[in-house]
């Protein structure tokens, strides 16, 4: 922790889902666990895909059945039964064994399964975590069906009680810090965000103000802000919302006492200030001064 940059330490306090993974190279990778909402969304997406596949296969089988001779009926029914079995038990396993360790639903939300100890994700772990979907998902569904179908009030009451009991497995991730499902717990896995970040252009290279003299700031004007403000400024510049750009530019000018020249573009001024501020703060980094924010006066 001592060597950890302070802004990230502050981040991990702010974000309860941030985790560190030490690589053998001695670097700590910063990972973010998937939130319960993301996981539920991914699962719903997978459920819909499975239902769509099942419906398509069933319709195709029915079409063949109606259009064809009666001889193939048994084979067709066998294929359907086996197909449904493989879909129910194999869908998650086969996708998670693939290169991206994620089902289509997880991919859509940029999630992936990893081993909690950072080691390789073993096939048996994937099997174990998905076998437990039997009690996480299919058991509650079965009991839901049973409680709806039961004619006898006693049977119905038993099924409802069973439903509550089994729903405990479904909502398990809401009650632990790491958002682990029952399957994650047994398999030693967790699900992390794995966004495929694009490498954005460096803002200091952007030239939106052809022909103007470079903005020049005095050291005093550059010692007003710290890293946190620089990052906020970067965010504003990347979003390029004109109203926000104007508001921030006015605020900074007022604060550092910089006179606006006629015809200056707000964005150009901000990029000029961002570049100068970043150059100064990075320079100070090399000397071991990491100025967290504007209140951090070394």
């Amino acid at each position: 922790m001592a060597s950890a940059p302070s802004n990230v330490a502050a981040d991990s306090v702010a974000n309860p889902l941030a985790r560190r993974l030490a690589t053998p190279e001695g670097l700590d990778l910063r990972l973010t666990l998937a939130s319960a909402g993301e996981r539920a969304a991914a699962f719903l997406l997978d459920g819909l895909i499975m239902l769509a596949i099942l419906a398509a296969v069933t319709l195709a089988a029915l079409a063949v059945l109606i259009g064809g001779r009666g001889g193939g009926r048994e084979v067709l029914a066998m294929i359907w039964l086996l197909g449904a079995f493989v879909l129910r038990n194999g869908y998650f396993v086969l996708f998670e064994m693939g290169g991206r360790a994620a089902t289509p639903g997880k991919r859509a939300l940029s999630l992936r399964v990893i081993a909690r100890d950072g080691g390789p994700l073993a096939a048996e772990s994937i099997l174990a975590r998905n076998a437990l979907r039997e009690i996480e998902v299919f058991l509650p569904l079965t009991l839901l069906g049973a409680s709806a179908a039961a004619g006898d009030p006693v049977d119905s009451a038993v099924a409802v009680l069973g439903l509550f009991w089994s729903a405990a497995f479904l909502v398990f991730p809401l009650f632990n810090r790491d958002r682990l499902t029952v399957g994650d717990l047994v398999a030693g896995t967790w699900v992390v965000r794995a966004p495929r970040a694009m490498l954005l252009a460096d803002l200091t290279g952007a030239n939106v103000h052809e022909g103007r003299e470079p903005f020049v700031f005095t050291p005093e004007q550059l010692s007003t802000y710290g890293i946190k403000e620089l990052e906020i400024l970067e965010g504003v510049l990347r979003r390029r919302d004109p109203a926000a750009l104007a508001a921030v530019a006015n605020r900074i000018r007022a604060r550092i006492g910089f006179a606006a020249a006629a015809g200056d573009l707000e964005e150009a001024f901000l990029i000029g200030y961002y570049t100068a501020l970043r150059a100064r703060l990075e320079n100070r980094l090399l000397f071991g001064h990491r100025r967290k924010d504007k209140f951090d006066v070394a």
Partner: protein, 337 residues
Amino acid sequence: MTAPPTNGAGLRSLRFRAEREADWRRLEGLLDKAERRRASDLSEAELMALPLLYQSVISALSVARSTSLDSALIAYLEGLAARGYFFVYGARLRWRERLSGFFRGAWPAAVGGLWRETLASGTILLIGVLAGYLLVSRDADWYGTIMPGEMAQGRDPTASTAFLRSILYDGHKADGDGLSLFATWLFTHNAQIAILAFALGFAFCLPTALLLAQNGLGLGALLALYGSRGLAAPLSGWLFIHGVTELFATVLAGAAGFRIGWAVMFPGDRRRLDALAEAGRSAGTAMAGVILMLIVAGLLEGVARQLIRADWARWSIAGVTASLWLAYFYLPRGGKR
């Protein structure tokens, strides 16, 4: 101190990025390719380059964290390093290596390691069989409670001895030619029950034990029914030709469930999470084997039982499969690593 240039050209972090960006892009491209298809699609040169590029991204990330304030750049490198890490240390084996490791060592070792749980699970099943047998022999009314109509398929105390016998030797010919369909249904049903028995182990073992006992009860009731007509021996041939494999698989699924349930309740001197993850791995391996055994049982039931009608032949197949499984799982192996 003079004001730094404002066009950014002098920024060290910008030069740092310019010098390395090509490597990052290359790693990104290779990872895209590797993730989209299988790792084996990468060429030899690309496979060699990947770990080196990963190392360079790792060191770039470490430098960037301490010298660059471009948070978009750092976010990009964090993501790329994580992807590289999962590829390089994910040690994805090829399917052939995975399978050979499973059959040669991992499967029998996992089953062998579950021997205590297997004994417990087998005992519970046996108690179920015994209870079912005793209940139905004393009072035939129990039969209807234990075996619901759909499972019994007409095999109940009111059926004639000739009918009961006909099921053993003529298969389900009476129902038309739905024979292989029935076998398929049985396989998917039994496999689903086995997976459920495993998963229920997590709920402190108890539901798994109930499921095993329930399975045993049905078996015992059937034995009692056929026994009362003097058909116990032919029934055992009919049952055990595939039942040895199927019941063994069910017992192992229960044992795997007990293993994880036990780890939840009694993690020993490890953290509960670690104990559970370790139990889950060996239980997961055993479960992969259970599915395979159920496929074998389904084939024996759907094919072999229909072709082989002689009791002695059915018994010998039962005996042979039993000894094969036992030898495979429990005999010590020479040259085992």
